[in-house]
Amino acid sequence: MPRNKIPRKSTNIDMTAMCDVAFLLLSFFILATKTKPPEAIKVTTPSSVSSEVASDKAIVITMSPDGKVFLLFGDDSKKRTIFTDINKYKSLGLSDAEIAKWSATSYVGLPFNQIKGSLALSQPITAAQMGGIPVKDSMNNELTDWVASIVRVYQGEKLSLLVKGDNNAKYPVFSNILDALKKNDQNKFKLITSKEEIPAESELYKSRGK
């Protein structure tokens, strides 16, 4: 019996469509990802197993490796109101124009008594030159005033306070930050950490697996 000949087909596949898809996806992902804003303060955060995603529209208290404390505003809309409020309560003596100039900066890292002077400078000072917000002892913890002002401004609204710290920041600085938050009844807050895998065979791993 004569066998039916299977017609030989070319194994060449037209790759054009595949190529189109690959580059379409590529361009989509490149355009869709947000570029990270350059960080003024270099901080390497510790890692935790938490799976919650940190909001970027938050007020972040940042601890640099050398123990300086900065206040970063992820939410620009309230920044000016906070600055006006702190100007009033701490009588910094800033004019409206000076507050406007101050609002252009994205972070605060100076004690109250140096703010007016820093705004008069033609060249803005860098984060490395700043001494940070004083938190040294409980009597002179300026962060307490800052948190108080933030709480006042955010009254009735959802306030998300984050604390971000470097691996090598010393504990007393962190303890002082916690004191400042607790004095304003901010007992719930979040720490910014990088992600870490849950260790296998741990209790948390087992409970998640169920």
Binding site: S48, A169, I192, S207
Partner: protein, 181 residues
């Protein structure tokens, strides 16, 4: 799609002396291009998801000086964090430092927490974390993360200010292991 119509569009006939140009295929092999596309794609997808920071919730207890939280002596474990990632711990109240005060590290503390969890009733179990002035922020995150990993319910572990006696014991232990400077 990648082909182009190269046939001369009908009608126009060439004379017998005119040589016909050899037709070459305009097909390009796009396989390497596809490879490159997907390689870049995977690279971008991986790097973007990795850099997302996570948020670790912390609930500090409200300060209430009139009603201090009572802890059962037998159910309490105090964890002390010193410099150079040193961890010390003791169970209950410290009455006999030489036998109770023990040294550990961040790997070993997990077994101690689990051991404690097995032997102490879950309603009473309390971990008190005290950090020395030399401890870093990483140490704090690590030990609180360890509580989450071992599924210690919230409210059963807390940060407490370090006592002078604890400090002295840490210093003594550090001196013994040659870490004091």
């Amino acid at each position: 799609m990648a082909e182009m119509d190269t046939s001369s569009g009908g009608g126009h006939k060439k004379g017998p002396g005119v040589k016909k140009a050899k037709k070459q295929s305009t097909r390009v092999d796009l396989t390497p291009m596809v490879d490159l596309g997907f390689l870049l794609l995977t690279f971008f997808v991986f790097t973007t998801t990795m850099s997302q920071p996570s948020a670790m919730p912390i609930n500090e207890p409200k300060e209430d000086k009139e009603h201090p939280t009572k802890v059962k002596n037998s159910a309490a474990t105090t964890i002390l964090l010193g410099k150079n990632n040193e961890v010390f711990y003791y169970f209950g109240e410290l009455t006999d430092p030489s036998s109770q005060f023990k040294s550990s590290n961040y790997k070993g503390i997990r077994d101690i927490i689990l051991e404690r969890k097995r032997t102490v009733s879950p309603d009473d179990i309390v971990f008190i974390v005290k950090l020395n002035d030399d401890a870093t922020f990483k140490n704090f995150v690590d030990i609180f993360d360890e509580m989450t990993i071992n599924a210690i319910p919230a409210g059963h572990f807390a940060r407490a200010p370090i006592a002078e006696t604890d400090k002295q014991l840490i210093q003594k232990a550090e001196e013994a292991s040659g870490l004091s400077n």
